[in-house]
């Protein structure tokens, strides 16, 4: 069933974009999370997408064997290596001996833009799944 393979590929895209959105939201909510002096603060995370062969099932074995089409998966979540932002806040309970507090190097604007991108990609995948489903339903019209 070729069309089912197309739906599975679209579903892999939906899943990957949702995971990306989860990571981005985690970045956004932790933009101001500090840690006690000496402890590494939260670091900005990002997902790594990799193209994969669709999960082989009985129904799509031929399609997978023919190759050329790929789903997507989140192959890893990486942490940003950039240095934390240090702000002088001597009264803060997480301040070090010089009075500096380490904040994660997160730009909320950047995260918002990435979230929009993830949302649009999710919608595109959803559209692909919807159109493919309509095509499969149209096939039933032949015998109606």
């Amino acid at each position: 069933m070729s069309l089912m393979t197309a739906i599975e590929i679209g579903a892999s895209g939906l899943s990957a974009q949702r995971q990306r959105l989860e990571v981005l939201v985690s970045n956004l909510v932790n933009a101001n999370t500090t840690a006690p002096a000496g402890v590494d603060p939260y670091r900005r995370r990002d997902v790594v997408f990799t193209a994969t062969d669709p999960q082989p099932t009985f129904g799509n074995a031929l399609d997978v064997a023919m190759g050329g089409v790929h789903g997507v998966e989140v192959s890893g979540v990486v942490s940003d290596k950039s240095d934390p932002i240090r702000r002088y806040e001597p009264g803060h309970p997480h301040a070090d001996k010089d009075g500096y507090v380490s904040y994660p190097n997160i730009n909320p604007m950047e995260e918002m833009v990435n979230m929009m991108s993830a949302t649009r990609s999710y919608e595109a995948n959803l559209q692909a799944v919807t159109v493919t489903k309509e095509m499969a339903l149209k096939t039933l019209d032949i015998i109606r």
Binding site: A6, M66, G68, V69, H70, V131, M135, I142
Partner: protein
């Protein structure tokens, strides 16, 4: 009567349209693959070699209305075309991560494929209605 049976049940146009549907579903997979990998670094846009293979779908210069005797092999009509080939699309601008998926192009292709699929389904339906009409002495849909 033998000749009539062959013409109705193993009709060249129905078979050609069936092949076309297979190709459209294969293309749908490729488009879904492109859309799913829109944010994958290094992914290159793919498509199937569509128009190059269209000629293969047609059984002969007579546009499939009549089979040639040389297409009768081992007692069965056969002109199965080669599998559609997945090719990389050239000429699309790459982003810095070497990904060159263009969402507008993919959405356009998605629409084209769906529309073409719907059209071919209607054609097959009308073909079957014609056959049903001949069975029912001209009362189509009865």
């Amino acid at each position: 009567m033998e000749q009539l049976k062959l013409e109705i049940l193993q009709d060249a146009t129905i078979e050609a349209m069936g092949n076309y549907m297979t190709r459209l579903s294969r293309r749908q997979q490729v488009i879904a693959s492109n859309i799913a990998n829109i944010d994958t670094p290094g992914y290159r846009t793919k498509d199937i070699s569509f128009h190059a293979t269209m000629q293969e779908l047609l059984p002969g210069p007579d546009l499939g209305m009549q089979r040639r005797p040389d297409q009768l092999q081992n007692g069965a009509w056969s002109f199965a075309p080669a599998e559609p080939e997945v090719v990389e699309v050239s000429g699309l601008p790459s982003r810095p991560d070497q990904n060159n998926v263009d969402i507008d192009r993919e959405m356009l292709k998605l629409g084209q494929t769906s529309f073409g699929y719907g059209a071919i389904v209607q054609l097959i339906r009308s073909k079957f209605r014609m056959i049903a009409g001949s069975i029912n002495e001209g009362r189509i849909g009865g």
